[in-house]
Symmetry: C3
Subunit: 394 residues, 3 copies
């Protein structure tokens, strides 16, 4: 699809009523999702052509990382900068749960001149998304009371439920790889657990994938060893959505079954939901002895499934042996970053450039989310931005 | 007052001779204070209307926080960004006293392309302001020797003596609340100590308030338990200023007396001057055992005054029971952030939006201070900036 | 030389084929070195005159500091900002050696929207420069695979071999002090070891100086106590270059001999090459006991050479007693920052403003390096930037 065609499609959508937050893809309308994807594609294309899509003369983008991050941090910084915003990191004491007046007050105190707030909070099950909604309510309140001159866009940079900037970037990679959205219908995507020698990896990536891809008419198969299930509500949602979209959703306990005839495979480790629940309980009470014990148990359990590794052999099971391998990075690569991990070095290297370009969509997704959630009249603004042909270097 | 009227008033003031530093309100002329307030109001109004008041195409704003801070850090970042400057944080080893060549050299090394320097240093009594003056002298020297192409504006973001960005924001809140500067004459403001379960809170907020408000024809009452006095020179200054301004200044040892018929109350905890002096001595020598002991004594002393709490009952003593409650935030709220603190939850919630908007003036105060201290010909520039009608989002 | 003359000289050089990295001055052509110096002088002059040399509307400058730094950090931030780039610091775990996929992947993940990457990695002998070359290869790969829309400029902010932003700033100071490049021919520069009570200071400054200055027709004398040699390859290179440039290069073991009739002295401590090699071995194996022991030995060895101090008496040996004293700062100043150090307080203070202005060239050197390595058609762009007369404050 040409840039101009994308622009035309985007500007035919009424972009006005998308709200100020991007927290879960599942609560966003098809129009909002599609507009966000289109605008991200447009921004990426503009950037590749050396065009500036700066919208703000000044303004802050506040980042709140309640968990470590490199990729997402730089994606957010890139997006903010490209839009004309300066990143200001709110470096709260990490891994701590905040409630009530503290959240309400802080959210306002850091937002007087903010146009965007990005939050990553994925450590505690049941907490990350809740925290974001508290911030959201605080910003609404501050704006309604005129404490804030503007309501900043709030973007979920990963929570306990979803990782929308990742899943949207993944979807853009699929659209790019298969030549457009319509070509995704009927494709088989295997979101499968994979072995890792580490523990406590969040559920948000697989949850984000099944939440979003089941809306696109894709045949999504979620595969994991017994006991490694995701949040039940998310799995249920995926089923419903698949039915509505004309795709399908199945859960299996075999990596091979998932890989069989798949067009896309996404092998990635995560901790079982039940373990994450227990871990959250123990983290809250600060019971370190029990936490250590839980980790030991979980690693021992993982160790039973070292054959859940994406190898050349497994890839031969996929459609013509040529499925696209995806990963949110960094992957646990056997013999490279660990002795035995999620993927063989051979497969990883074969698809390395694909995984890099997959990640490369994220800054544009974030920029798109901010622009659509923040601008009061996006159609008018975007028409101007896209058509002014301003160069980034001059 | 309309925006245009404020602009007219501002541009009638000769803004050229204000110097490069904003360290203490007490050493600033009435014209400098008034111009800073007017410009902050203008910037705030411009921001609310979506107008850009960017002045710099590029340039750095250096922040030096020798103490933790969230609010002031974000206010400084917001102000710098709105003016077009990028914040670069000089992350010195905190809580350490620096002298001589180290200060002189560092001040120059970080300022080659700086247009503003903001310093917070309020831990050691007798040190924070002294440190700022050393930096100021170093910048003067560097500029006179042509090491620096420009003399950055130096702004006190809180020292041991004053907290000018806070007191100026507070004054803007009062002007806004009471409908203009002239309406403040004859109003009664109670700056009173309040109970807190913590210790070592700086004196700079109450000192800043009595230093500034006594110049405005306000009847200022400072209230605290015996032994909780401020730096004597500051109290003496407040007395002199009140006399000159036609206001008044009194020190009492009763919260009720201060609240009685007050138009404004500012209940806020601080450590006694004598304790802060002792604490500084002990911190310098690193005597941890004695520090612990001092803390214990101070908390025990505080505990005798738990009834110094701003409650609904106390508020009934004020003018028609309707005084404005102020706080620099975060407050110690009884039953919310601590068991018993400076203010009841009921009162805090009643005035919460007021305290938020009070804080909301700070970024504009800082921007105004930087602009007036940095620009060589402010009248000309500001006329241009205000009248170009450049939008912040475009 | 007037600004216009510098511009003319610069634009006569074909700036197109300089490559994307500035890692070692020794691998750069005379044209690239001269263009970088000229452009830095032009930028500095423009800045002094209040002109903006901003080139980028948006874009990131990534800094990777694998060692502590204040000066270089602020110089990089200043340079990036002046060009229009926002600094984003990649805060890797410090002092750790990274290889392979981790480096390749990270380099790409942080560079999607980066126009410049600056790296400081000078702790491990044999590692810093190697790491930079791995990053360089990763960026080349990412750009060739179209993961990256642009190839960021990569600038060495100090490695184990060279410190090009320092040596180039030093050279600009010399050109400024002696009135132009041609006046440097035949001048005698003494790069000499000096006593310091600390240990493990990197070799990159003296190595950078002898690598660069021997190309300028300068008579370079390297002086150090026996056993305090630099990397042998660098010393050999200096000899070869001196021959080619018509200058000279000698190594002596006497500070007095080096100072004798010198036009410029650069007394600065460093650790012996052999000690740095052993230190690297021990740091890699984490042998703390042996590291402690090595430090003790090295300090004991240093202590034999406390008379290697730049004093008034030593300065009298120089040409008319008036040699220029240089230092990369901070210096170990006897009686100021230590009991006995590299330079007497008297000499340091006499030349203090000179050392400050020496450091002041660094931001402009870095900006020049980035511009020339990043721009695809520098001549065209620079002509535009220099001639548009855009003010920095407006």
């Amino acid at each position: 699809m040409t840039l101009q065609k994308r622009v035309n499609e985007l500007l035919e959508i009424n972009l006005d009523n998308f709200g100020s937050d991007f927290l879960l893809t599942s609560e966003k309308s098809a129009a909002h999702i599609e507009a966000t994807l289109l605008l991200a594609e447009i921004f990426s294309e503009m950037h590749a052509r050396g065009k500036s899509f700066r919208i703000f003369d000044t303004g802050l983008a506040i980042s709140i990382f309640r968990d470590n991050s490199t990729r997402t941090r730089f994606s957010f910084a890139s997006a903010a900068n490209a839009l004309g915003l300066a990143v200001s990191d709110f470096d709260e004491q990490k891994s701590q749960i905040a409630y009530g007046e503290t959240v309400r007050e802080t959210a306002n105190m850091i937002s007087f001149m903010a146009d965007a707030v990005g939050i990553r909070d994925d450590i505690f099950l049941g907490e990350g998304n809740r925290y974001m909604r508290e911030v959201s309510a605080a910003l609404d309140l501050g704006y309604s009371e005129r404490t804030l001159h503007q309501r900043p866009a709030l973007v979920n940079l990963q929570c306990d439920i979803d990782h929308p900037t990742q899943s949207m970037a993944d979807l853009l990679k699929l659209r790019d790889f298969f030549g457009g959205a319509t070509n995704l219908r009927g494709k088989k995507l295997a979101m499968t657990w994979a072995y890792s020698p580490s523990y406590g990896k969040p559920l948000s990536v697989p949850q984000g994938i099944i939440s979003l891809m089941t809306r696109m008419g894709i045949d999504v198969v979620l595969a994991h060893p017994e006991g490694y299930g995701l949040i039940p509500e998310v799995t249920a949602l995926a089923s419903r959505q698949a039915e509505e979209s004309g795709g399908s959703f199945a859960v299996v306990n075999s990596m091979d079954e998932a890989f069989n005839n798949a067009d896309v495979v996404y092998p990635k480790s995560w901790a079982p939901f039940a373990v994450m629940e227990e871990r959250t309980r123990l983290l809250k009470t600060g019971n370190n002895a029990k936490l250590k014990n839980l980790e030991r148990q979980c690693l021992a359990s993982n160790a039973k499934f070292t054959d859940w590794e994406c190898t050349m052999e497994k890839m031969r099971l996929t459609k013509n042996g040529k499925a696209l391998y995806m990963h949110c990075l960094p992957a646990d690569i056997s013999g490279v970053s660990c002795e035995k991990g999620e993927v063989s070095a051979e497969i990883f290297e074969k698809y390395r450039a694909h995984t890099y370009s997959e990640a490369g969509f994220k800054p544009f997704v974030i920029a798109s989310m901010i622009a659509l959630c923040r601008l009061e009249n996006p159609n008018k603004f975007l028409y101007k931005i896209i058509n002014r042909h301003k160069k980034r270097i001059e």
